[in-house]
């Protein structure tokens, strides 16, 4: 989102695009670098024990030393996130469509969906382990209950914000509710839906890690838990770093998807 003005700039003034990119990323990069340097210095100067706060260099060493195991765990977690994320999108969209298309069912379903949203879903993790065991299923279930809601809600908001006079136009040619749904409401909701999907991407990462905390024998969540029982804080941080990278990757994948699906969205088409 923050890079949007950058791409606009680069379109209008190709010569200065590199300047625009460095201009927007440079301050953040400098701050990040400074933080790492200060962190390293503080840990060394005050001789802080590695199991309380490991220095960045120690985290890097741990990352390299455990690279194989960490990559394997990352792959497992990434698989859970991807699967859970896709299921959340499909279920979230399906619920939104049902609510909009079937008025009676919608009025029954919508309050329950909102009610369910108020259940602290992280607390469901142990129950899901109890029901579905230690495999992939409880993680997918947990991601689903955490991540479907923004998808449903954003798509609903998009479908319900269609201009009344556009609906009048559709009625004036005798359009059926199904035609209005698929020709107008669904495409109209796509920019909103993509915003919801990006939130769901972030929540999916949280869902996967929480699921692994509750009970797993693999994945980055498991590594974090295992390493903290061993007081290997450097490894905890190394795993955290990889979790963050996964989160960023999924977020930007959703962002790329957005540009492909809704190139006409208001955020892309302002002059």
């Amino acid at each position: 989102m923050s890079d949007q003005p950058v791409s606009n700039l680069s379109e209008s003034r190709p010569a200065s695009s590199w300047g625009a990119v460095t201009g927007s990323w440079l301050p953040a990069a400098i701050l990040l670098l400074a933080t790492i340097v200060v962190w390293e210095a503080v840990v060394r100067i005050f001789a802080i024990s590695a199991f309380i706060i490991p220095a960045p260099s120690e985290i890097a060493q741990s990352l390299i030393a455990q690279w194989g195991a960490l990559m394997q765990a990352t792959l497992v977690t990434a698989g859970e996130i991807l699967f859970g994320f896709l299921v959340s999108i499909v279920v979230g969209i399906a619920i939104a469509l049902v609510i909009v298309r079937f008025d009676w069912l919608g009025r029954a379903l919508y309050p329950l969906v909102v009610l369910f949203q108020n259940v602290p879903k992280v607390a469901l993790a142990p129950i899901f382990i109890l029901w579905f065991g230690y495999g992939l299923a409880p993680k997918i279930g947990l991601i689903l209950v955490i991540a479907f809601f923004p998808v449903t809600l954003s798509m609903l908001a998009g479908m319900q914000s269609v201009d009344r006079s556009l609906l009048s136009l559709m009625h004036s040619v005798g359009a059926s509710p199904t035609q209005i749904l698929f020709r107008i409401r669904v495409p109209h909701s796509l920019p909103n839906l993509m915003a919801g999907i990006k939130i769901a991407a972030t929540l999916s990462v949280i869902g996967a890690i929480v699921g692994e905390f509750a009970g797993a024998s693999d994945g980055l969540g498991y590594v974090i838990q295992f390493a903290s029982t061993q007081l290997d804080t450097a490894l905890v941080f190394a795993a955290l770093l990889l979790v963050s990278v996964l989160g960023i990757a999924f977020y930007y994948a959703a962002e790329v998807l957005e540009r492909i699906i809704v190139p006409w969205a208001p955020k892309f088409s302002h002059a």
Partner: protein
């Protein structure tokens, strides 16, 4: 009545001439316990250009929606070529244009122009729809912007696409609700002129809701003035100026006379009328 052309709605002869395409008799609309329209009598002959003008809240948009079959009158009767508005809608006899063009941002100008036609007639192929869309864009003077998306078009161009979309249905009646209300003065003049040309070329019957006195006189053959509380027709004015008309019309003493007359009628229409 000071002006002889003003006829009170109630005392208007209830005759229906056989060339009347649209006729409303005793139409009243109650919405949320409010009398929005009271006892509207209206007859519009085929091929005519009629404007409805009046202060905000006089129910002119509601009257248009009644004619379009989008609002059911609480009492009274509307017929369009002998059909109810809903039946007329099914026969694609009604084209609608609103203040907002309401184009679909994910479709280009051609596909927007043929969008409603595609829904009204599912037997048409994609190629047929495209051909019709191109033809209609040509008619509204947008032939060379066919592949532009709405965000690449100006406000006036978007409204031209909206008119093309209504014309694509080949409706008998074009109902327009302040179609140029959101445009700047110059664009507005140009759009009015284009609308006149389209009207003369296609012979459609046009009912235009507007709040611009100039626009009403400039474009229409008859103007109906509406009043508030309750919404009703307080007077009608025949614009006797010959077509084709252009912007030089404004220097015509007859134009100025009509302007004064209509303004006087409008001022009177701002006074709430007692229940009759």
């Amino acid at each position: 009545m000071r002006v002889e052309t003003i006829r009170a709605a109630g005392s208007r002869p209830a005759h229906i001439r056989h060339d009347d395409l649209i006729s409303a008799k005793g139409v009243s609309v109650v919405m949320a316990r409010q009398l929005v329209l009271q006892n509207i009598d209206l007859s519009i002959s085929k091929g005519s250009f009629v404007s409805l003008i009046g202060p905000s809240g006089c129910g002119k948009s509601t009257l248009l929606k009644v004619l379009a079959g989008l609002v059911n009158p609480t009492s009274g009767n509307v017929s369009i070529a002998g059909l109810s508005p809903v039946e007329a809608t099914r026969k694609r006899m009604i084209g609608l244009v609103f203040q907002d063009a309401n184009l679909l941002p994910w479709k280009n100008a051609v596909d927007n122009a043929s969008m409603l036609l595609g829904i009204a007639d599912r037997s048409l192929s994609r190629a047929d729809l495209r051909a019709c869309g191109h033809e209609m864009l040509e008619l509204v003077g947008l032939g060379d912007s066919a592949h532009k998306r709405p965000h690449e078009l100006s406000g006036g161009m978007r409204q031209r696409v909206a008119i093309a979309r209504a014309l694509a249905l080949d409706p008998a009646v074009l109902l327009m609700d302040e179609p140029f209300g959101a445009l700047d003065a110059i664009t507005r003049d140009a759009m009015g002129q284009s609308l006149l040309e389209i009207w003369q070329r296609t012979g459609k019957t046009i009912v235009l809701v507007t709040h611009s006195i100039d626009e009403a006189i400039h474009l229409s053959r008859h103007v109906h003035v509406m009043g508030i509380k309750p919404g009703r027709i307080t007077g009608s004015l025949d614009i006797g100026l010959p077509y084709p008309r252009d912007l030089s019309l404004e220097e015509d003493p007859q134009f100025v006379r009509l302007l004064v007359q209509l303004r006087t009628m409008l001022r009177a229409s701002h006074q709430p009328g007692g229940a009759s």
